[in-house]
Each structure stands twice: as structure tokens, then as C-alpha cells.
């Protein structure tokens, strides 16, 4: 549980997040729409410089991303925590085991309501950070525009360790 780190910011701007993603020279974004990432998904979809791939399930996303990276591209995975759980075997096999530097932006479903003190907790909420910790995947929080620099930190860590790294977003995106 991470109540000591919970913040009440309003989420990052989708437009600013997109600018940060493009500044890091990602070539492809793999995403399945979810409620919180909707605005960023739409911004990526509308951008002519990024190739958006929308698979059917997150395990596919991870495997496609690993193939893209092996071929010399630089993919970014937008993935809700529920999808992170579904994709566990692919993250193990296509990221952790072979030390492929998957870059993940994980939507933390349940965080915002937990931060607001609502009960019951979403069952996806408590496992997000512990799951990444168990896999040894470093992560940073992106809770508002002031945090956008964590994308660059995540990208650098993935590259330097040749290992997956993640940013966790606790709120839906603003325009």
C-alpha cells in the first residue's frame, strides 16, 4: 500500500505528455484504450509522427513492442494496471528474461478513488506497485505536469540497465 505517497494532483496534461513522449523519440505507441488514458490515447492517435498500434490484449502489446525494439524501433507501452497483470507472462518472457528495455506508462486504476478515501478499494489498486517491485522493474510517479520529467528518467533507466522501466499515472489525463 502506498498511502504515504498519495497525492491529490489532477493528472498530467495529455498534450504536454505527448510532447514529452515525442521529445524522447519514441517511434511507436502500443495502447488499448481505458478510461484514464483516453485523452492521451486520442492525442497519440491524432499525431502524425507516432505510429499507434492497438492490439486486443496487453500481452500482445508487450510481445509486439519487444519485436519492434529488437528490430531497432523505440516503442512505448501505455498499459492500465489491469493489463499489466494480464501481460505478466509476456513481460517476464519478452522483457525481464531477455533484458529488453520495455518502456511502460502504467495507468493506476483505483488510485484516484483510494486517494479520495473512497471504499471499497478497487482490487486492481493495491497490487500495482508491489507487482512492479516483485519483478524488479523501477518506477516513477506521474501525477501532474510537474512530474513529466519522470518520463525521461524512466527512459534513461531502461536504456542504461537494458531492462524494463515504468512510470505510473495515478489520475486521468487533462487536455
Amino acid at each position: 500500500m502506498t498511502t504515504d505517497t498519495q497525492r491529490r494532483d489532477e493528472g498530467a496534461s495529455a498534450a504536454k505528455t505527448l510532447r514529452s513522449i515525442k521529445a524522447l523519440e519514441f517511434t511507436h505507441v502500443l495502447a488499448i484504450p481505458d478510461s484514464e488514458s483516453r485523452l492521451l490515447f486520442e492525442a497519440v492517435d491524432a499525431d502524425a509522427d507516432l505510429d499507434l498500434i492497438v492490439p486486443c490484449r496487453e500481452g500482445e502489446s508487450v510481445a509486439i513492442a519487444s519485436g519492434l525494439w529488437l528490430g531497432g524501433a523505440k516503442p512505448l507501452l501505455l498499459i492500465q494496471n489491469t493489463g499489466l497483470m494480464e501481460a505478466g507472462d509476456a513481460i517476464r518472457g519478452c522483457g525481464i528474461g531477455p533484458r529488453i528495455p520495455l518502456r511502460l506508462v502504467v495507468g493506476w486504476r483505483g488510485y484516484a478513488s483510494a486517494a479520495a478515501g473512497k471504499v471499497p478499494l478497487d482490487s486492481a489498486y493495491p497490487y500495482t506497485e508491489p507487482l512492479l517491485e516483485a519483478w524488479g522493474i523501477p518506477f516513477w510517479h506521474l501525477m501532474g505536469d510537474d512530474d513529466l520529467g519522470v518520463l525521461e528518467q524512466m527512459d534513461r533507466a531502461a536504456s542504461e540497465r537494458s531492462f524494463p522501466a515504468a512510470v505510473i499515472t495515478g489520475f486521468g489525463y487533462r487536455p
Binding site: 511507436h28 505510429d51 498500434i53 492497438v54 492490439p55 486486443c56 490484449r57 500481452g59 500482445e60 508487450v62 510481445a63 509486439i64 513492442a65 519487444s66 519485436g67 519492434l68 525494439w69 529488437l70 528490430g71 531497432g72 524501433a73 523505440k74 516503442p75 507472462d89 509476456a90 517476464r92 518472457g93 519478452c94 528474461g97 531477455p98 533484458r99 529488453i100 528495455p101 536504456s159 537494458s162
Partner: protein, 196 residues
């Protein structure tokens, strides 16, 4: 029905600079006929995801074909990937589905008998689909027909999804995993890709 090793020998003879991604039983027998820097052993990389991985490779390396050798049991683990291929599969992707109707590598347990894998691929939008709009789904049932089709499959725009009913009567070598990271490094070296 095609003897799998005959199919592999035929493919290895015609293959040039294509990437070959293999998984499960194919990882045991393909190395008996091929030792190529662009061979990639996907075993234990992610259950059912060999063609997803191949899709990513093909998108990143449009200058050459990516061939995926995978089984029908693996396909059942990621059936949605057919729909993804139907939308995004590029012209340089060739998926050879080795249909043996069993989970062979773990003991030969039967798959559900009624599934029509070519039919599933067509219904998923691969026929006339992919990013090219020229996707093709085929079922090839004899070695002669495969031998005749292979030059076309290696040269024309796809994506191609080919169902090949196979049997195997040759001994399977023991599973011998090599280090995952080394496989990755070798393929990137073969492709001339630098770190990133």
C-alpha cells in the same frame, strides 16, 4: 499432411535473408536444418506470442520478410492476435501455422478438434487485410503444394497466414534453452541494430 522436417528442409533451402522466428517444437527441429544469424528462438519468451513478436519485427524491418513458425496450440493462447494481424500485419510478414492438433512439446495432448484455423484467420480480417489490404490466408496440405507456393510466399506482398497440417515421425531433440539475452544480442547483431 506434411512431414514437418520435410517442410523445414524445403524452407531452409529457399530461405535467403529472411528473419525466421520459431517457437515450441519448431525450436527443436529447425536448428537441425538451419544455422543462420537471423534465426530467432522464441521459446520461453511469452506463451502464444511468437507471431506478435514477429509482427513487431516485421514492422521495424520492412526491408526483409519475417517468417514465423508457430503451432496451433500457441495460437489458441493468443487468438486475439489474429485480429491485430488483420489490422496491422505488414506485407513482409509470413506466418506459417504448423497445425498438429496437439500440445506436442509437453506430451501431445489433443487440442479441441473442431477449430478451423484458416477460417478463424479469415474471420479476423487477415484475408484482404493487414496494413497493405492484400493479406492472404491459405491452407496448404501437401509438401508439393508448399514447395510450389514458397517462392511466391517469399516474394509477394502479404501479410500471409498459411495453415500447414503437419506430422512428425523424426526424433525430437531435447529442449536446450540458451540464454534469452544472448538470443536477443545475436539477432540485433545480425540485423545491424545498435543498443538503445
Amino acid at each position: 499432411m506434411i512431414e514437418r522436417m520435410d517442410l523445414f528442409r524445403t524452407l531452409a533451402e529457399r530461405r535467403n535473408d529472411e528473419i525466421v522466428v520459431m517457437t515450441m517444437s519448431a525450436t527443436l527441429q529447425w536448428p537441425l536444418v538451419s544455422s543462420h544469424p537471423l534465426d530467432f528462438d522464441f521459446l520461453a519468451f511469452g506463451m502464444g506470442h511468437a507471431s506478435d513478436f514477429g509482427l513487431g519485427l516485421a514492422l521495424a524491418r520492412p526491408e526483409r520478410k519475417t517468417i514465423v513458425l508457430k503451432g496451433d496450440g500457441g495460437l489458441l493462447m493468443s487468438l486475439g492476435s489474429l485480429v491485430t494481424l488483420g489490422r496491422y500485419g505488414p506485407g513482409n510478414l509470413l506466418v506459417l501455422l504448423l497445425e498438429n492438433r496437439s500440445y506436442e512439446i509437453v506430451g501431445g495432448h489433443e487440442l479441441p478438434p473442431g477449430a478451423d484455423f484458416a477460417g478463424l484467420a479469415r474471420a479476423a480480417g487477415i484475408e484482404g487485410g493487414g496494413s497493405t489490404g492484400t493479406g492472404k490466408v491459405e491452407r496448404i496440405e501437401t509438401l508439393d503444394a508448399f514447395t510450389a507456393a514458397l517462392p511466391r510466399l517469399l516474394s509477394e506482398d502479404g501479410p500471409h497466414f498459411v495453415v500447414l497440417p503437419v506430422a512428425n515421425h523424426e526424433p525430437l531433440p531435447a529442449v536446450a534453452h540458451t540464454d534469452h539475452a544472448t538470443r536477443v544480442e545475436n539477432l540485433r547483431r545480425g540485423l545491424g541494430v545498435s543498443d538503445g
